[in-house]
Symmetry: C2
Subunit: 187 residues, 2 copies
DNA sequence: GTCTATAGGAAGATAGAC
DNA sequence: GTCTATCTTCCTATAGAC
C-alpha cells in the first residue's frame, strides 16, 4: 500500500474510455475512474485539471483519432471497395471488443444537453463516418442517394446491434451484424 | 410557494419516464425527478419507498404494459400483416415522440451491472418484441430463420436510428427508419 | 507526478408537521 | 399525501507533503 502507480498514456486513455463506455458520463465517478486506472484522484486531477469533463473530452478525441487512423483512412485508401469494407468489419470487431463494449458516442450522449463539450464532436463523428462510407459506395458505382442511404443504414445497424447486445447480454446481435455488413453495403 | 402539488398516476409515470429517457438512470437525480413531476422529494419517497430504483423499475413496467397493449397485442391481432406493421410504425412514432426521445431500454442499460433490477426486464422486452415480430413474418409466409433475422434487424435499426438521431441532434434518421420499416420487414 | 488528507457541495434518504 | 427541515453518504475538487 502507498506504492506509487505509473501508467502509460495510451493505456490510461484506454482504461478511462472503458469506464465511460460501461457506465456513461454521469455514471462515471472519480472513484471508479481512479480504481480502473490505478491512479489516485489527485493524480487524475494533476493530469486532467478540468476533471471528469476533460477526461471524457480527451477520451472522445482519442476515439476520433483511432477512428480516423484505423477506419476512415483505410476506407479512403485504395484496393477493392469490398476488401476495404471487410477490413473495416475486422477493425469494428476489435474496437467494440466483439460486441462486449458499448459505443462511446451512445454513452456520452444525453438529451437535455443541447450544448456542451461532447455534442459537436459526437455529431461530427457520426457525420464523417456516414460520409466516408457513402463516398466509398459511390466509388463502387452506387448512386449518391442510394450510397448515402446504405451508409446511414449501416451506422444505424452498428449502433442498434450494440444496444441490442448490451440489452440482451449477448454479443450475438453484434456478431451477426458484422457478418452481414459487407452484403449490406455492396451486396 | 408552499402550495400542495397533485398529479395523476399516469401523468406521474410519464414525467418520471421522460427524465430517465433523457439522462439515464445514473443521470437522473431526485432533484430533477422532483422538478419534472412537481412533487417534492419526500413526496416521491412516500409514493416510491424504494427511491430512484423503484421509480425506474415501475417506469420500466409501465413501458412494458404500454408496449404489450399498443404494439405487441395489435401485432398478434388479425388483419393483413402489412396493415398491422403500418399501425406499428405509427405507434412507434408516438412512443418515441417522432425520434425526439431516446429509448428507455437503452438508457437504463449499463455494463458493470450484470445483475440488478433492470437487466431481466430489459432482456425480456427485447426478446418478446423480436419474437412477436418474427411470428408475424412467419404468418406472412416467411421462413422461420428469415423471419427471425428480419425481426432482429428491424429492432436494431429502430434503436440505431434513435442513437443516431440523438447523436446528430436531428430526428431525420428516425423518421427515415420509420418510412422504410414496412419494406424492411415484408418487402 | 504521485500520494494522503480534507474541504465543500450535491446526492439519496428520513422525521415529523400539516 | 404533501410539505419543510435535516441527516448521512458520496462525489468533485483542492492543499500540501514527498
Amino acid at each position: 500500500m502507498g506504492r506509487k502507480a505509473t501508467i502509460e498514456e495510451s493505456e490510461l486513455m484506454t482504461r478511462l474510455s472503458r469506464v465511460f463506455r460501461d457506465v456513461g458520463y454521469e455514471g462515471a465517478t472519480l472513484t471508479s475512474l481512479s480504481a480502473e486506472t490505478g491512479l489516485k484522484k489527485a493524480s487524475l486531477y494533476h493530469r486532467f485539471p478540468g476533471g471528469k469533463e476533460q477526461m471524457a473530452r480527451e477520451v472522445l478525441e482519442d476515439a476520433a483519432s483511432w477512428l480516423e487512423e484505423n477506419l476512415l483512412s483505410p476506407l479512403r485508401g485504395d484496393g477493392k471497395p469490398e476488401a476495404r469494407i471487410r477490413a473495416m468489419t475486422r477493425k469494428l470487431d476489435e474496437f467494440y471488443s466483439g460486441g462486449k463494449q458499448a459505443c462511446l458516442l451512445n454513452m456520452l450522449t444525453s438529451a437535455r444537453i443541447q450544448e456542451g463539450p461532447f455534442v459537436k464532436p459526437i455529431k461530427d463523428l457520426f457525420d464523417v463516418l456516414i460520409r466516408t462510407l457513402a463516398d466509398l459506395l459511390c466509388e463502387h458505382g452506387l448512386e449518391q442517394d442510394e450510397a448515402r442511404q446504405r451508409a446511414e443504414r449501416a451506422v444505424m445497424l452498428l449502433h442498434g446491434s450494440l444496444v441490442l447486445s448490451r440489452g440482451t447480454g449477448s454479443t450475438q446481435p453484434f456478431k451477426r451484424f458484422l457478418k452481414t455488413l459487407p452484403d449490406e453495403l455492396i451486396g
